[in-house]
């Protein structure tokens, strides 16, 4: 029966090509616009760290002075909940000693010149991220060669480096460069691993500065901070002018400036509780030496919560996805009108078929299938068009590389087009099916 309905539906669509084109075009337009903007929104709202989003936490501590509460910053928290966006270097060093987290890393970025083989490239000054060995697994960063450095490398610390795919192409032509050395600043670094091409929509591990930016191209052990006076190039925030500090090392060891991001992985709520207790203990210990003058206050925040708290989804994206879905709704309403006209014009034909023995259900399904056919063809066209729109949008976006139709979005688009077809088709089909056979025959 389905085959027969399909055949009649196709026949009916062919009968009036202009009307059919209009119908399909309308649905395609709606699907195209809504798919494109729902995908754009999805890029920001999808699970940033599949399977781990609720286990990786950003650590913040209120280490400010009694009369210097934190103000400004990027958070949308009310001022009585305000907390510095980052932590101090000395706290980061101390936090690294906590036994509770299964993985943890302090991290920040710096800029140092890299001196490649002069035959290959000129010196360049990339952003370099300092982090711990745990960092790469914590954020599920994919490697193509080698892997993260080891905890032993962290402890010494060794001069090891992880580079990204683009840097590996630039310096080593894309070959396996693990074990080779590059000069960063004045020192030689041994390559521990090469990342696979990787471009998340948001730079998960550092949302404090231009979160839509790309991950850094080079990674070196955090502990090298002690041996190489690297400066932080991220945001810096301070409240206390500190006397008698003359060297950078001293400044780092005693400074109350916050510029370090700190991440922990806690596998379950019990671990979260235990880590909270540990932090409370730590803050109370610090109070004894005159720091942390304010009430005990820390925050452990997951990446999705941080994205929300820091308002990282652009407002336009949210507005556009709502508007585009409404747009699809208008297209559907339009379709109802046109289909109704089309089906009602066909009433004499329907009544003949009814008189010849077609059941109401037959008529109903035949018309619904015709509408779904329009929905599906329009949907396919719309998805193709939206891929074009997305490609266009991506060219103007900093993180456009991460913008694409994935499986989830294809399913959403197909679902939307089926729903649009059904919404637009069910009522007209029902009207067509409720034609009484005798009455219409009499009119003929």
């Amino acid at each position: 029966m389905f085959g027969y309905h399909l055949k009649t539906a196709l026949k009916s669509l062919r009968r009036n090509p202009i009307l059919t084109a209009l119908l399909i075009g309308g649905i395609a337009l709606g699907i195209c616009v809504s798919t494109a903007f729902v995908t754009l929104r999805h890029m920001y709202t999808q699970d940033p760290l599949p399977g781990k989003s609720d286990k990786v936490f950003y650590v913040r501590l209120d280490s400010r002075g009694k009369d210097s509460p934190f103000g400004g910053g990027i958070s949308s928290l009310s001022s009585n909940m305000a907390i510095p966006d980052q932590i101090t270097f000395r706290d980061a060093q101390n936090l690294l000693h906590s036994p509770v987290p299964v993985r943890q890393s302090a991290t920040y970025i710096t800029r140092v010149f890299v001196y490649p083989d002069p035959k290959v490239a000129r010196p360049f000054q990339p952003d370099i991220r300092l982090c711990s060995a745990d960092f790469f697994d914590m954020f599920k960063m994919p490697f193509q060669y080698g892997g993260p450095w080891t905890k032993a490398n962290d402890a010494k610390p060794d001069q090891v480096v992880v580079i990204d795919d683009a840097t590996n192409r630039k310096l080593f032509g894309g070959d396996n460069s693990v074990g080779k050395e590059i000069r960063i600043g004045t020192r030689q670094f041994k390559i521990a691993g090469v990342l696979a091409p990787w471009r998340p929509a948001l730079r998960l591990f550092d949302l404090t500065r231009n979160p839509a930016g790309a991950p850094e191209p080079l990674y070196i052990p955090f502990n090298l901070h002690n041996t190489i006076p690297y400066q932080s190039f991220g945001n810096n925030s301070g409240w206390k002018r500190q006397p008698d500090v003359t060297t950078y090392e001293q400044l780092i060891a005693t400074s109350e400036r916050t510029f370090i991001q700190y991440w922990v992985e806690l596998p379950d709520p019990k671990a979260v509780g235990a880590y909270g207790d540990w932090l409370t203990g730590y803050i109370n210990d610090q109070k004894k030496i005159g720091r942390f003058e304010r009430p005990v206050y820390y925050r452990l925040t997951t990446i999705p919560d941080l994205i929300q708290e820091w308002n990282l989804t652009p407002t336009g994206v949210r507005a556009m996805s709502v508007v585009s879905l409404l747009f699809l709704a208008v297209c559907s309403v339009n379709l109802v009108g046109i289909l109704l006209g089309k089906f009602l014009a066909r009433i004499p034909e329907v009544s003949v078929r009814r008189a010849l023995g077609a059941s109401r259900a037959d008529i109903f399904w035949q018309h619904v299938i015709e509408c779904e056919l329009i929905g599906v063809i329009g949907g396919i066209l719309g998805i193709a068009l939206s891929a074009g729109i997305l490609a266009l949008l991506a060219r103007f976006m900093q993180n456009g590389e991460a913008l694409r139709l994935d499986g989830e979005m294809l399913i959403t688009a197909t679902f939307l087009s089926l729903v649009a077809g059904a919404v637009a088709g069910v009522y007209p089909a029902w009207r067509a099916a409720s034609v009484a056979p005798a009455m219409q025959l009499k009119l003929q």
């Binding site: 009694k66 210097s68 103000g71 979160p211 002018r241 339009n334 009108g337 949008l393």
Partner: protein
Amino acid sequence: MHIGPILRAMKHNRTRVVLIVLEIAMTLAIVTNCINVILAERKKMLQPSGFDDDNIVRLNIRPYAQEFRDDAFIDNIIDQDVRTIESVPGVVAAANTHFQLWEGGGSSTQVFAPGVAHEPVVTQVYYTTKDITQTLGSTVIEGRPFQIGDHGIGHVVDPLTNVIITKSVADLLFDGQPAVGRTIQQGDPTDPSEKPMTVVGVIRDFYNPFGSPTSIAPYSDKAIFQPARNGGFSGGMSYLIRTQPGAMKSVIADVEKRLTAQNSGRIFEFKTTAQKKTEWFSGSKIVVTTMTCIIVTLIAVTTLGLLGLTSLAVSERTKQIGTRRALGATRGDILRYFLVENWLLTTAGLVLGVFGAYAVNFLLVSHVSDVKLQWQLVVGGVILLWVNGLISTIPPAIRAMAVSPSIATRSV
């Protein structure tokens, strides 16, 4: 014209009534909100910054020669660089500063005025060499610009005693009283080691991003400028250069040539403010373009839909029209009938649409605060769609008018 018969006729055509009302309502809701978002974005894009944006270029210098590791060398070369840049024909003024135009980011601190009771004020803070106000093209409204002697010979650890602040900082610290000559202090009010600074000038507030484009309040007009050189081996150094109108291109080429001649162990990166502004607003531009496209397509779709639905109504009722004509209704009566009917439906749709517009706006505003729907826009949308409804009714109504009375006598 009696509305009664029209309303009674609608009762028999509920579907069409519902469809038209729904379509108009949704269109109004979408169009007003789209325009609202567009206006909000445009307002951001068009607000004057208070700087001579078109003629300012930023130069970042990234040194790799080892002599730049020496702070004294850096201080020396910064002074030389500024002198060299200012000697280039077409340059109005130049300053070594880490203040950034239209890039987002910067440094912040908190300040207070000793002896004045108030909360510490969180503000941006930047080091700069002497000619910053001339370079930015900002107006000094009280006091004076920096002058020779305000910053000494040292590096960033200069005494920093004379500062220039923006009007909004002055207002917060001194409650509208003159700020020049007053003392301000950075950091913790209880810390005795803080050194006081003297305000020598107040400049007009500017409009320049501080946070990222997505943050809640990306703009801040609160800033303090402290006279000091700013640079280092790993951080490099930045200059702002203001040129005479039209001289930008030649100045960039000339500056690069002369500075390279001075010291070639470094990389030069120029970026004009216009370029940075375009990048900063690229997101807004996408929003404006797509929203405009959506509005245009949506109105086209709605017009076609109304046209289709009214045509359907006319062809369904050809016989009734013929009968009415045969019974004495004039062509004008028929035309008026359809126009009034659609006017009623459009109006009902618009009434519903006004609620819809505010509902959609509520949905959007629940996260964002700066796109509250303006009532003028709703009124504008209502008028637009009224006219649109009228226009899309006229062609089918004219066809209805042309129905001949003899139709009534044909067939059954």
